[in-house]
Amino acid sequence: MKKVDKEVADAYFRTRTTLIVIFLSIGFLVSFGVVAFAEFFSQFKFLGVEFHYYMGSQGAVVIFILCLFLNAVLSDNVDKKYGIDDDANASISSGKTVDH
């Protein structure tokens, strides 16, 4: 066991939280944001259909998926930067699980 500086630990938490806030904001804008101004967006067309309809039926879903994959990749990089080893995580985690 090695002690981690409070600043390092806080920085880790801050970086991860910032990622969460950014991605959730993007998700919020492409769904609720477009719905709230649907009448305005209906004057544009994308792939043959009004933009508000496109965002609801495809655009938002595709962006949600991209957000999740991007977050998974970026979070892995953050973990690596802070010297976290996923194999160690897995072995620690399997010992801690409450089993029935």
Binding site: M1, V35, V49, S57, F64, L68, S94, K96
Partner: protein
Amino acid sequence: MDAQTLVSLGLILATFALYIGISIFNRAKQTSDFYVASRGIPPFWNGMAIGGDWMSAASFIGMAGTVLALGYDGLAYIMGWTGGYLLLTFLLAPQLRKYGRFTVPEFIGDRFDSNPARLIAAIATVIISFTYIIGQLSGSGVVIGRLFSIPAMYGTMIGVVIIAIYATLGGMKGVTWTQVAQYIILIVAYIIPIVFMSLQVSGNPLPWLTYGNVVDEIGAIDQELGLSEYFAPFAESDKSQFIALLFTLMVGTSALPHVIVRFYTVTTMKAARWSGAWALLFIGFLYLSAPAYAAFSRFILMTQVAGQPMDELPGWTDSWINTGLLEIADQDGDGVLDWTEIAVGNDMVVMATPEIANLGMFVIGLVAAGAMAAALSTAGGLLITISSSFAHDIYYRLMNPKATDQRRLNAGRIAIVLSTVVAGLVALDPPGVITQIVAWAFALAGGTFFPVLFLGVWWKRMNSKGAVAGMLVGLASTLCYIFLAMNDIMLFGIQDTGAGVIGVPINFLACVIVSLVTAPPAQHLQDDVIDLRYPEQMTYKDGEVWMNDGTGK
């Protein structure tokens, strides 16, 4: 029995045999693996299993029909049911994974160190899963009803028997690979018909790129008929209802007990993030296709069925009229069927589309098998959740901590049989269409659990009294609003399906206020919450963070 019934029935039975085969094979393997440390399921396959578990009869049978009927306003279901995975993967799943307890009542009971909270959570889990399962049962009723051209009600009765046998046969623990198979079958069955329809209508095999133009053409036909355009926003309901429904479905998705349980099988917080990403990709294939389904079906109905003389209607219309889901009447008596004289039940669209587009017996049978896969996989997962809430959280943890494994197993089986029978009785005369019933389950899940889980993993000051108050007030206000809205008493035009937007904020307020005016939770409970900020290798203890580098304690 005609040839079509034989082909459909044959495909359904063949897929059943596959699921049973997989579960028997896995059960044998699990016994031999029992003493080996479990290595966890890779996120890719777990994502696929989450997809199979998640996509229910509502997604498969009901959603495209809802979009067809509601136009743009139906898209709240598409965005809501996918967006929930964002909330789940960012805000809840990794933290719940690190906490190491995987049923929702168990997390709530242990995090707040409170048996009353555990009991309320267990009862709420049963209520939510029960509501959800009614939707699945009436979905299997639609499939079986069409298969034998009988009213959907009798179809539901047969479906109840099949699902009860399927779930009690056992082999449901560790169903991951069965759900992977069910995912593959349902997604293939869903996508093949729209590829053919896309070819028929536009000559391009990629429906996702072509249906935009079809939507535009439907809008033009609507305009000619003097109806509101298909893609026009908020034609069927208020904007406030759209936003309320979207919110309810998103928040509810992230708080559904049977979905959260799926993150049990992964190894780490990192694997939970990747599982969420893969799951949404696999789920996305179906959700991106549903609006295409709706557009093509509506286009073919409007251009090829409407406008036909009454005595020259295609053969499939008869069998759907028998199920009670299709109504046609020549109201103006001119001998021609007009678009406005066709009443298409939401729940028949996906099932009927291959017949409407004349795609042949095999595709029709495949869609029936896919729909059964969707209903079965979700119903199975729900029944397990109900039985574990009852047998584990209520019976074992609260009533009889000394119960033997055998007695707990029996308690679980009784819970499964009872809930299937009661849900089956309710589903005989469903209180709404499938997507609507399912939306209630989401409102209840979000209204009862989301604030408690969210604050539970992010806010160390949250205590047991706050959790109890939040769940009770949230559950009660959501239920109340659903009943009021069903009786036409509504706030801001928000209907019963959007009830989560009422229940969730009330629950949040109750949690925060009650927690703040009562004593803070014990120090070790608060430390547990701070510990969730870091990956498994880092541990929070007495105000300091320690890195486990393998050099002992």
